[in-house]
Structures are given as structure tokens and as C-alpha cells.
């Protein structure tokens, strides 16, 4: 009798996994190992935890092991779910149909630091902060710094095509990963890049497979090695925050800054009124600001001293031109330095009566053009308020808006609305309400010509059903690719609407 892979694996399959791994403690079928790899920080239907448990977990050390595991999964028709840091804000690493979780945290070696051609080659299980601790000795860094900088891992960054807070200056994950090795859904190990050898950054030979194998949320394979960009450590950093009494002034100010031609601009962030209200209320480390402040613009420059020194004067002028007030050095230095913690901190929310509840942070992260942001903000805020009122388990923590394009700060923005969700109180009805809320927000993004997600992905119900609409004619191409590469639908099945490839 074949075991139900969502509950347990056939004993013969476990034995095969153990033979492949050949290391005690690297094939885990106990309930603790499975329960602790069922979720990510994204809101989780805790009342249905058991449905998200894998049947087994493996902790490989080599690409060959990953390849053999995937081949075995094809033979046994058991789902495989890749997991790196498990810090995603969507469901990429959450098993939807049980199976084998391939947890790559042990593949965290630095294999080569090449100071001549300026690359570092690593395993997918390494964290960027840890990597940069090593790279610091060579006066270079790998500038992929998302809010999850202290905890996310390179493998997940590639699978989600991540966003970096410094992306407008140094590029995002897709720009900072030169090439990588990936185990395909049928087990072959290939290397993809722009073309050529693993350290080539630009090529026009063949299809650009690197981009195909990024951002697929683990549905097209498992990354087992990556060659990353090394960037000279900036000599100077200059951060400035400006406060506004009006969101539209803040919005116009950002436009002035990003189109000014300052090449050292690493990014801008707008905090909207609800965000300022939230930070004022619930973030003890937030610098107190006068009551008239309802929006904040944060900016940062990175470069040589000569560049940053001159550009900072232009920036200070542009920041104030629309009535912005510089918030002081304390905030400029302190808040920018703590940006990773700041943007990951909202762990509590307020109920309608003002009482505190532990809440999970959901960050809905569309890509939108600058011109539509004020309108989208109004619509998102109204939708969220409707659900806050209706269900009593949500809280609106306001919006951030970050420059989204690589190497240039204008054009489109990662626009996010942060919503607290009291998971402890979830039942089927409230979960369905949550999914409806997500879907309504996503539809607004599409209606305004945006993308549902800049970096978190769209694997979760509520977003997933809208992916075909966003992709248009490209959706059919995606289905053909999925089916061609993963004929047995074993690689992270159930994500997006990719099951349509097998209908």
C-alpha cells in the first residue's frame, strides 16, 4: 500500500533517503522536525497547521544529494519542497501537499572569494549578514540587504527574486547573483547565468535562463550554489529623514529626489500617515515627532566621500523644497542603521478597543508606478479598514513605499501595506476573510497597471488566482515550461495556479 505522502512516507522511500544522505540525523521524520518546517513568517492558518506538515525533512550538504533526492521523489511521486531560511513573506517554503522538505541550511559554505574578478561563490544556506562579516575582511560586501538581512538565506533570495533596501544603488538579488547551480525538478544539475562561465555578468548567447530560474518560489528547482557580486565597501554613508504634514508633499518630494540625477542615491522610503501613527504608538525606539507630522521620507546615499559629500547638499535642499523638515541627526543615523529591525518589528497590534494582541505581520508588496501611488494608497487603506471593522482580528500598520528599480531610483516602487493579523483567533471563516482582503488589495494593484508582488511572491491563495490575469499571454508559456521541466509535478506543487499545467 502506498502511504499518503502528506502524512507519512513509504518506509522504502525513507530508507532510500537515508541511503542517499548517509549521515545520521540528516533524514528527519519525527513530528518536531516536520512541525517546525510547516510555516514561514507570513500569516499562517494555525488552526490548520497539521495540513501543512511535510512527511520528511532532509538536510543535504551537496548538490549530488539534492539531485538524488529529487530523482527519488520523481520515482516515488512524492512532492519536494525547498526550504532555505524559511523567512519568506509568502508561502514558497510552506508544504501544501506534504512530501519531502529539502532544507539547505547546511549548505552554507563560502567556497571561493575571488578578489580579482570580484565574485564570491557560496552555498544556498548562507545568510547575507554572515557572509558580509567574512567579506568585510577584504573591504568588499555583497549588498543584498532586505529587511530580513539578518536571517534570510541566499537560496531563498534567489527563489523569491528578492528586493534589497539599497537596490537603487547596487541592484537587487537578480542583479547581484551572477550565476547559480540549480537542481531541476527531474534531478539534473545545471548552471544558469546570463551565459558563459559562472563569473560572466553579461552575455547574449542563448535564452536568459538565470531570470527564468529566479523568483519561481521553488517551483522550478533547488539552488545548490551561487556566484555573487562583490562591491567595494562604500567609503561614506549619508542618511536623511524629512517630515511632512501632507502625504502628497512627501510623494512629490521623492519624485524630485529620484529624478535629480544623484548617482549615489541608494533608495528612498515614504512612511504614510497610518505608518507614522503606528510607529508613534507602538515602536518604543521611534524618535518622537511633532503632532503635525503625518508622513516621513527616508533617503540614503552611498559612495566615496567626495561623491556623498557633494550629493548630500543637493539632497538636503531637495528634501526641504516641498516643505519637508529634516528630522535631525539622531533619527538619520539611528533609524537608518536599525532599518532591518525596524521593518521586521511589528509583532503586536491593537484591537478596536486599543488593547494589545500578538499579531503576525503581513506585508502586501505590490510593484506600482509612482504616478498611481496616492490613489492606490487611498483604495488599500479603505479596503483594509473595512476588514479591520468586520473581523476584529486585523490592524492596519500603514504603508511604506520604496524605490524599486535596479540601479535607478525612479519609475516604479515597492509599495507595501502592513497588516496585523491575530493568528491565534483564526478559524475557517476568518481565514477566508483574510484571503478576501488579500485578493481585494491585489486586484487594486492590477487595476492600476502594477504587479501583485515586487519580491514576496504570489504563491498564496488570495494572490495565486490572479497570477494568470497578471501574466496575460505569458501564463500559457509558464504552464508549458512548468510541465516540460517538471513532468510529474513534484517540485513544490500546489503553488500559484501551476496545477493547470497538468489539466
Amino acid at each position: 500500500m502506498t502511504a499518503n505522502p502528506t502524512v507519512e512516507l513509504d518506509r522504502a522511500v525513507v530508507a532510500d533517503l537515508e541511503a542517499i544522505m548517509d549521515e545520521p540525523g540528516s533524514v528527519l521524520t519525527d513530528v518536531s522536525s516536520r512541525a517546525n518546517r510547516s510555516r514561514v513568517p507570513a500569516p499562517f492558518p494555525v488552526h490548520r497547521w497539521a495540513e501543512h506538515m511535510p512527511a520528511a525533512v532532509v538536510l543535504p550538504r551537496t548538490a549530488e544529494q539534492v539531485s538524488e533526492i529529487v530523482k527519488l521523489a520523481n520515482r516515488a511521486r512524492v512532492p519536494v519542497v525547498p526550504r532555505a531560511g524559511g523567512t519568506g513573506l509568502n508561502d514558497g517554503a510552506v508544504p501544501l501537499r506534504g512530501g519531502i522538505v529539502v532544507d539547505v541550511k547546511r549548505m552554507n559554505q563560502i567556497k571561493e572569494i575571488d578578489m580579482i574578478d570580484r565574485t564570491v561563490t557560496v552555498g544556498p544556506g548562507i545568510n547575507m549578514l554572515k557572509l558580509n562579516e567574512e567579506l568585510g575582511k577584504y573591504h568588499v560586501f555583497h549588498p543584498d540587504t532586505p529587511a530580513s538581512y539578518p536571517c534570510s538565506l541566499v537560496g531563498g533570495r534567489i527563489a523569491c527574486s528578492g528586493f534589497s533596501l539599497l537596490g537603487s544603488r547596487f541592484g537587487h538579488t537578480r542583479d547581484l547573483v551572477i550565476s547559480f547551480e540549480i537542481v531541476l525538478p527531474t534531478g539534473e544539475i545545471i548552471r544558469v547565468g546570463d551565459g558563459g562561465g559562472k563569473k560572466i555578468r553579461k552575455s547574449s548567447t542563448g535564452f536568459h535562463l538565470k531570470h527564468l530560474f529566479m523568483g519561481h518560489q521553488g517551483t522550478l528547482g533547488i539552488v545548490t550554489e551561487a556566484t555573487l557580486e562583490l562591491v567595494p565597501k562604500p567609503e561614506a554613508e549619508f542618511a536623511a529623514f524629512f517630515a511632512f504634514d501632507d502625504y502628497l508633499r512627501a510623494h512629490r518630494t521623492v519624485h524630485g529626489i529620484v529624478t535629480s540625477g544623484i548617482a549615489t542615491l541608494a533608495g528612498t522610503v515614504i512612511f504614510d500617515e497610518k505608518k507614522v501613527e503606528y510607529l508613534r504608538r507602538d515602536d518604543e525606539a521611534f524618535i518622537p515627532m511633532p503632532p503635525w507630522v503625518n508622513s516621513v521620507v527616508a533617503t540614503a546615499l552611498y559612495g566615496t566621500k567626495a561623491e556623498v559629500s557633494e550629493a548630500s547638499k543637493i539632497l538636503m535642499d531637495l528634501g526641504r523644497r516641498e516643505g519637508g523638515r529634516y528630522t535631525g541627526d539622531e533619527m538619520a543615523v539611528g533609524d537608518w542603521a536599525s532599518r532591518h529591525d525596524r521593518y521586521a518589528n511589528p509583532l503586536h497590534g491593537r484591537l478596536a478597543d486599543g488593547s494589545v494582541a500578538p499579531m503576525s505581520w503581513h506585508c502586501e508588496d505590490a510593484s506600482l508606478n509612482w504616478s498611481v501611488i496616492p490613489q492606490v494608497r487611498e483604495e488599500w487603506t479603505a479596503i483594509t479598514q473595512k476588514y479591520v471593522d468586520r473581523y476584529g482580528i486585523f490592524d492596519n500598520w500603514g504603508m511604506y513605499c520604496y524605490t524599486n528599480a535596479s540601479y535607478k531610483p525612479w519609475g516604479d516602487y515597492l509599495v507595501e501595506i502592513d497588516i496585523g493579523i491575530w493568528e491565534e483567533k483564526l478559524d475557517d471563516e476568518k481565514w477566508a476573510g483574510w484571503v478576501d482582503l488579500k485578493r481585494e488589495i491585489a486586484k487594486v494593484s492590477l487595476a492600476h497597471g502594477g504587479s501583485i508582488s515586487s519580491c514576496h511572491g504570489t504563491t498564496r491563495v488570495g494572490d495565486a488566482e490572479l497570477v494568470p490575469e497578471e501574466m496575460g499571454g505569458g501564463w500559457d508559456v509558464m504552464l508549458k515550461i512548468k510541465r516540460a521541466l517538471d513532468p510529474n509535478n513534484i517540485m513544490n506543487p500546489g503553488k500559484q495556479m501551476l496545477d493547470q499545467a497538468y489539466e
Binding site: 488552526h47 497539521a50 541550511k105 544556506g125 536571517c151 525606539a285 536599525s338 518589528n345 499579531m359
Partner: protein, 418 residues
């Protein structure tokens, strides 16, 4: 799902007590703690993350698992506290909501539940049984005729002419009293030289801290009661804790056990010695011409925010060159010697101390200086392999003050039979 022994009431109490704290972490799930955790840096197994330690409580609440299923996971912790201070919850909103993420306490409570349910580990069981018999920890191992226990608790002080009792006593930690006696001897002589009036404890039992760390709450409390009664009987008002684990136990567990009745002042040796140097009562005049780096003991740095005093001391020693690593970077450093880990998982302790020495090696130093005698055994073993000496900060102070210390810096690893 397995069934735990008993009727599950104790587990329900545990869940009830820690569920809210657990949800504070579970709701976030961001795992900023993962890469600072010394155990996690070695095992890379998500079961051993602080996140999992909290999620398990929620899973128990939901009926997904029992303490038996996660007992071995909770062994994987040195109780260094790095996770707590790296938690965005603690850093940004903890005080605001009175909701610091408590992970060390969760681990200790889970281990206490393991003891109550008969799920405690063999090594810990034996260690604590022997401690209960000897009244001190079996730090010299259990084989052969080892000079441990109450008959030998003051052997280290031979020839130092130290009184017993008085208003201030120096509490000689078990590891320092029996194993690294250079530590106790250096401390006592430094205090003598600075003119600090102090005595030794009348009948010194183990502080009870290790028992508390491994989940043996009743034993820990019984030892604390003995020690407090002994202090009261000899009029002790002030205890000098020469070791960070003892310091934690005296300043956190004893007040929890005795409430307002606990009116003993507790002083940490590095803070006292720094003061003595500052006040000019202790003169460090003999140069030590070595390049050293300082290991921030977890319980001083991560749990008590004590990191300035030891650096002040080291900078006061003539000739000494300090290649310092800032105390925040050291949130992810550890010796692996705490929380009973070396008793149950010596191979993980060894890897953690190897990593620590590798970091010291990169600085091209002669010596790694610690201020925690429990860290010094695993660090010294790892240091031997890479040619870096490991010393205690007070041993260096003694040397610079011109004191002939005597005693032993320890050589062998104790063995605990299963």
C-alpha cells in the same frame, strides 16, 4: 503524535504559562535569532532554533506534539541569551509592551517539565545525582578517587590564610574550586592585595545554578536554601560572585526563590576589580607583553550587559595589546560551555569552542582572555589545537599585580559515564 507519561497536566500547565510568550515569537517567525545562536551555527537544524522552542509550545497547545517529541531539541541550548537580545521584539517593542521575548526561561521550563515527566537525559540525571551527593558538581569526573565534594571544597585555598565567614564572602564556583584552581587562587589573592576584607563560605555547596539550567528545580532550590541559610548564620551581607553563571543564579533565581527576603548584595568580580583599579587600590605594574583578544562571556555580555569593566581591566594592564571585538558582534560568539550542553552534547560544545578560537586566530593573537571559568575548559581545549593560550582575566590581573598565583589551570576533560 506520541503520548507523554502521566496525565498531561504538567504539560498543560507549561503551555498555559508560556503560551502568550510563545505567540509573541510565533506571530513573528522572523528568526533574527537563528544566525546568532551558537548551537544553530553548528547543527543548522531548524529544530534547534529559538523560534522552534516557542513554536513547540503552540504546537503542544494545538495537540500536534508532546514534550516527549521535543525533549532532545530543548537540550540544544547553552542559555547564552543571544536570541533574546537579537529579537526585534525585545529590541524595539519589548519594554513598550512589557513583552521581552523570554527564551532562556522557556528552555529551562521545558527541561523542568522533562524532569517531571521522567524525560530528562541520562547525562544530566547522573550529573545532578552526583551533585546532590557531593554537594558540589562532579567537575573532575566520576571515575577513580577524585578530590571533589565537601571535604575538598577549600583545598584550592591552601596557604592563602583566608578566613571563613564575615560580612563579605567570595563564592568559589565549583569549576574554579576543583578544576581551574588558578582562577580561585588568583581572585582571592587579588582581593587580598587590594585590601578587600572577605572570607570564604562556611559550608559552600554548589550554587544550584546548573541544576536550574538542566531543569532540576527542586534540587536547585534546596541548594539555594542551604547557601542562604549558611550566609545568614555567619552574618554574610555581600557575596562576590567570581563566575558569571553563579552571578545569574544569585541575581535572578535566588530573588525568584526568596522574594523580598533575599537581601544579600551580589557583586560581580570583574566590576569589583575594575573599581579597585580605578580607585587606585589595585596597582597593575608588571607588564604582560602579549597580544590578546577578549571573549565576552555570554552571561556577562548578553544577559547582564557587562562588557565595559573587563575591557577597562585589560586596558589597565601594562604591555598588554588588546585586539578587541565589539560586544555586539560577540552576541553570536560562545564557548559552548553553558546550559549543561557539554555534559549531553560534548561534540557540539567542541565545535562551538573551535569556532570561537578560529575567530581569535584570525586576529593573530597570543591569547584569548575570558572572564568565565566554565568557558575556559572548552576554550582551552580548542586553544591547544590552534596554539592560542586561554586565560582568565583575573589570572592576568594577578600576574600584572605581581602575585604568584599557584593552583592549576586544568588539563583534562571530565568524563561522565552514562
Amino acid at each position: 503524535m506520541s503520548q507523554s507519561s502521566g496525565n498531561g497536566e504538567l504539560q498543560r500547565d507549561f503551555v498555559e504559562k508560556w503560551r502568550e510568550n510563545g505567540y509573541n515569537c510565533f506571530s513573528s517567525g522572523h528568526k533574527f535569532c537563528r544566525e546568532v545562536c551558537p548551537v544553530m551555527q553548528v547543527t543548522r537544524n531548524e529544530n534547534h532554533t529559538p523560534t522552534a522552542f516557542h513554536a513547540n509550545i503552540i504546537a503542544m497547545d494545538k495537540g500536534l506534539l508532546d514534550i516527549e517529541d521535543v525533549a532532545d531539541d530543548y537540550v540544544h541550548c547553552t542559555q547564552c541569551g543571544g536570541c533574546e537580545i537579537r529579537c526585534p521584539n525585545t529590541l524595539f517593542v519589548g519594554d513598550f509592551y512589557q513583552a521581552r521575548t523570554e527564551t532562556v526561561k522557556v528552555v529551562r521550563a521545558a527541561r523542568a517539565l522533562m524532569v517531571d515527566e521522567g524525560l530528562d537525559r541520562d547525562g544530566w540525571k547522573l550529573w545532578n545525582r552526583l551533585t546532590n551527593e557531593l554537594k558540589n558538581e562532579p567537575v573532575l569526573g566520576i571515575e577513580g578517587d577524585r578530590p571533589t565534594g565537601q571535604d575538598h571544597v577549600r583545598d584550592w585555598a591552601e596557604g592563602l590564610d583566608l578566613p571563613v565567614g564575615g560580612e563579605t564572602i567570595m563564592f568559589a564556583d565549583c569549576e574554579a574550586a576543583f578544576y581551574r584552581t588558578s582562577n580561585t587562587r588568583a581572585t582571592a589573592q587579588v582581593l587580598q592585595k587590594a585590601g578587600v576584607e572577605f572570607g570564604l563560605m562556611n559550608e559552600q555547596w554548589c550554587c544550584g545554578g546548573p541544576a536550574a539550567e538542566m531543569g532540576y528545580v527542586d534540587q536547585s532550590r534546596a541548594f539555594a536554601e542551604h547557601n542562604l541559610a549558611d550566609w545568614r548564620a555567619s552574618g554574610v551581607k555581600r557575596v562576590i560572585a567570581i563566575e558569571p553563571h553563579d552571578y545569574i543564579h544569585f541575581t535572578e533565581d535566588y530573588p525568584a526563590y526568596f522574594g523580598e527576603d533575599f537581601d544579600i548584595e551580589v557583586v560581580q568580580i570583574v566590576e569589583l576589580v575594575a573599581e579597585l583599579i580605578k580607585d587606585g587600590r589595585l596597582k597593575l605594574e608588571h607588564p604582560i607583553n602579549k597580544t590578546v583578544t577578549y571573549h565576552d562571556p555570554c552571561r556577562l555580555n548578553k544577559r547582564k550587559n557587562i562588557h565595559e569593566a573587563p575591557r577597562y581591566i585589560l586596558r589597565s594592564i601594562p604591555g598588554l595589546v588588546l585586539e578587541d571585538v565589539d560586544h555586539v558582534t560577540q552576541w553570536s560568539y560562545c564557548s559552548g560551555g553553558g546550559g549543561g550542553l557539554p555534559i549531553e552534547k560534548p561534540e557540539i560544545t567542541a565545535e562551538i569552542s573551535d569556532m570561537r578560537l578560529a575567530r581569535a586566530k584570525e586576529l593573530d593573537v597570543d591569547m584569548l582572555v575570558s572572564a568565565c571559568v566554565w568557558s575556559e575548559r572548552p576554550l582551552a581545549r580548542a586553544g591547544d589545537e590552534v596554539g592560542i593560550e586561554v586565560a582568565d582575566i583575573i589570572e592576568l590581573v594577578a600576574e600584572s599585580a605581581g602575585i604568584e598565583v599557584g593552583g592549576s589551570r586544568g588539563v583534562s576533560q571530565p568524563t561522565v559515564s552514562r
